[in-house]
């Protein structure tokens, strides 16, 4: 009797994985919805200062308190998510398009082209993400679009690597051979046959990298290289709150929890999908 994952254990894992993916998806959807519509329902603007209530603890008027200028923290958090999500979407989107193209080419053609594409990727991966992002924004400029490009530069090699590996797994499959035998062109083989079959692991990676982009954006803003005041960014709020953390601990607690929640959502989604795709697989 061979020892294998019994259907039952596999089923339970599948159930747990899909539960995690659904929970993550719900968290993200709710955050996106609340964030996208914040101007419709919030009584405050992110810059509106209430001089009657600076450093107010959570009250009915200010559900999560106010900062030292009397700005409503909940409102600022929701506007802050807009920047976080914009950076995350922009950098993952850009990294995805470029990285997937490069990985696909490298994996499909192999040989010299593989080396020409992948060696520079190794170089980019020789830097810790945050160091590269700090340097790029530092040298080029402090701006949301620079931030997006800087994070994308970190992501391109990651996506390229995953896509290359995934392409290598698919490229010798029978259906690819079959299409090749029927005389399909390289472009058609890559786009119609390989891409759709090789992309799932990349998309899972994208979910996890969305979360990391949020972390990177807030870290960058935290050290003063990202979003500049008075724009509401979660990292910036955290950094501003440090001076008041004894009188008004909510000023540091709320933005931190907000970042964690969003990242948690993307991680739950990514991990859940990963287990669904590859139930016997190892964590990462």
């Amino acid at each position: 009797m061979k020892r294998e994952l019994t259907p039952n254990a596999a089923l339970r894992k599948t159930y747990e994985a899909s539960r995690s993916a659904v929970l993550g998806g719900v968290i993200i959807c709710v955050l996106v919805l609340l964030t996208a519509t914040v101007s419709l329902y919030s009584p405050y603007t992110p810059e509106a200062m209430d001089f009657m209530a600076p450093l107010s603890p959570p009250t009915r008027a200010h559900l999560l308190g106010t900062d030292n200028f009397g700005r409503d923290i909940l409102t600022r958090v929701l506007y802050g998510y807009q920047i976080s999500l914009a950076v995350a979407l922009g950098s993952v989107g850009f990294g995805l398009v470029v990285g997937v193209s490069l990985g696909l080419l490298a994996g499909y053609f192999g040989g010299i082209l593989d080396n020409i594409i992948m060696r520079p990727m190794d170089v980019l991966m020789a830097f810790p993400a945050i160091v590269l992002v700090v340097a790029l924004t530092g040298f080029v400029g402090r701006d949301v679009s620079v931030m997006i490009m800087a994070v994308a530069v970190v992501y391109v090699p990651i996506f390229a690597r995953v896509m290359r590996g995934s392409t290598l797994e698919v490229v010798n499959e029978l259906f690819v051979e079959g299409a090749r035998a029927r005389g399909a062109s390289h472009l058609r083989l890559m786009l119609r046959h390989i891409l759709p079959n090789a992309i799932p692991p990349v998309l899972i990676q994208a979910s996890i990298l969305m979360g990391i982009a949020i972390l990177l954006e807030s870290a960058l803003s935290f050290i003063g290289l990202g979003t500049q005041p008075p724009d509401p960014s979660l990292g910036l709020m955290l950094s501003e709150g440090r001076s008041f953390m004894q009188q008004a601990p909510w000023m540091v607690m709320v933005p931190g929890l907000a970042i964690s929640l969003a990242v948690l959502g993307f991680n739950l989604l990514g991990n859940g999908l990963q287990e669904l795709l590859n139930p016997a697989g190892k964590g990462r």
Binding site: R3, R119, P120, D122, V123, L124, A126, F127, P128, A129, I130, V131, V134, A135, L136, T137, G138, F139, V140, G141, G211, L215, S218, A219, F222, I223, G224, L225, G235, L238, R242, M245, Q246, P249, V252, M253, P255, G256, I259, S260, V263, L264, N267, L268, N271, K282, G283, R284
Partner: protein, 318 residues
């Protein structure tokens, strides 16, 4: 002999990466919009000073000669000058580097001490308390931003309980107790994220090894379970664990940048951040070079360790 050849092979593979890294760091200066010398000097720019900086950076040369000149200096151990203070960057780094190394090594130690035993327990008893604990750590540890965790630890342990200093520091050889006390919270902050990754890797590596045939045979020959797990399974699982630790060292270095900032520790990370904020680009370049070099070195060390653990590569036996 075999091991030496293996290490030599690894080193050879590293050369192009090292070369590429140096090109990238060099080119960063070219990304600056406008005249780098003017940006570096900012308000203090005078025609004479601009000329000095241009000369120092070789800005008047064609770009490949600029690179050649820069690389030549780097290879001779000259990482340039801090144009603000006129200090040699190598002097700056020699003070800063030990702080970062101590921080990352302590964090690594803490993470291994917690995550590896927890991961083993989780694997031995799936669904048990340790398994649930490791799942929570694995999920929250990577979701909580380390700078926020650091702030929370300061809020709780330094400001509320007054157990640890929130900032300040003594060098290791000056006062070891003060030193360790000031490093505890930053290292802990850094260790959480790493433990999250490590606990998951340990758990899945141990689970995977326990499924292998040789474990069944060890049990069939009546070896006590403690030896089965802590000698055989762990040794086998340590190969993927060590690999991941090496890969995660980059994460530690990156985390150090932020954590040093939060706890005001004068390490390389904080140096890079403050130099970036001050547009002190030669210092940033030097800092990045050091970080990338450390990262590559640790990866090499990981490869060597991997070879040492694996008799097939080590070429052991008769």
């Amino acid at each position: 002999m075999r091991l030496l050849r293996y290490i030599a092979g690894r080193l050879l593979l590293l050369l192009p990466v090292l070369f590429g890294t140096s090109v990238l760091i060099f080119l960063l200066l070219r990304l600056i919009p406008g005249d780098p010398a003017a940006v570096i000097l900012g308000l203090r720019a005078t025609p004479e000073r601009l000329a000095i900086v241009r000369e120092e950076l070789g800005l008047d040369l064609p770009i490949h000669l600029q690179y050649g000149q820069w690389l030549g200096k780097v290879l001779r151990g000259d990482l340039g000058k801090d144009f603000r203070s006129n200090e040699a960057v190598t002097d700056l780094l020699s003070v800063r580097l030990p702080v970062t190394i101590e921080l990352t090594v302590l964090a690594l130690g803490m993470a291994i001490a917690v995550a590896v035993p927890l991961g083993i327990r989780a694997a031995i008893k799936p669904g048990g308390l340790a398994d649930r604990g490791s799942m929570l750590l694995g999920l929250f540890g990577i979701s909580i931003p380390d700078f926020w965790l650091g702030i929370m630890l300061i809020l709780f342990f330094s400001l509320a309980l007054r157990m640890f200093p929130s900032s300040g520091y003594a060098r290791l050889h000056e006062d070891i107790l003060v030193n360790l006390r000031s490093f505890f919270l930053p290292a802990l902050t850094l260790a959480v994220g790493l433990s999250a990754v490590l606990v998951r890797v340990t758990r899945s590596a141990v689970l995977e090894v326990m499924e292998r045939d040789f474990v069944k045979f060890l049990r069939a020959k009546g070896l006590r379970e403690r030896l089965v797990i802590y000698q055989h399974v762990l040794r086998n699982a340590s190969i993927p664990i060590v690999t991941v630790i090496g890969l995660q060292f980059g994460y530690l270095l990156g985390g150090a940048v932020i954590v040093e900032e939060v706890f005001s520790l004068p390490g390389v990370g904080r140096l890079i951040v403050s130099a970036t904020l001050e547009r002190n680009y030669p210092v940033v370049q030097a800092g990045m070079l050091v970080v990338a070099f450390m990262f590559i070195l640790v990866n090499l060390a990981t490869d060597v360790l991997y070879g040492l653990l694996n008799p097939k590569i080590r070429g052991g036996g008769a």
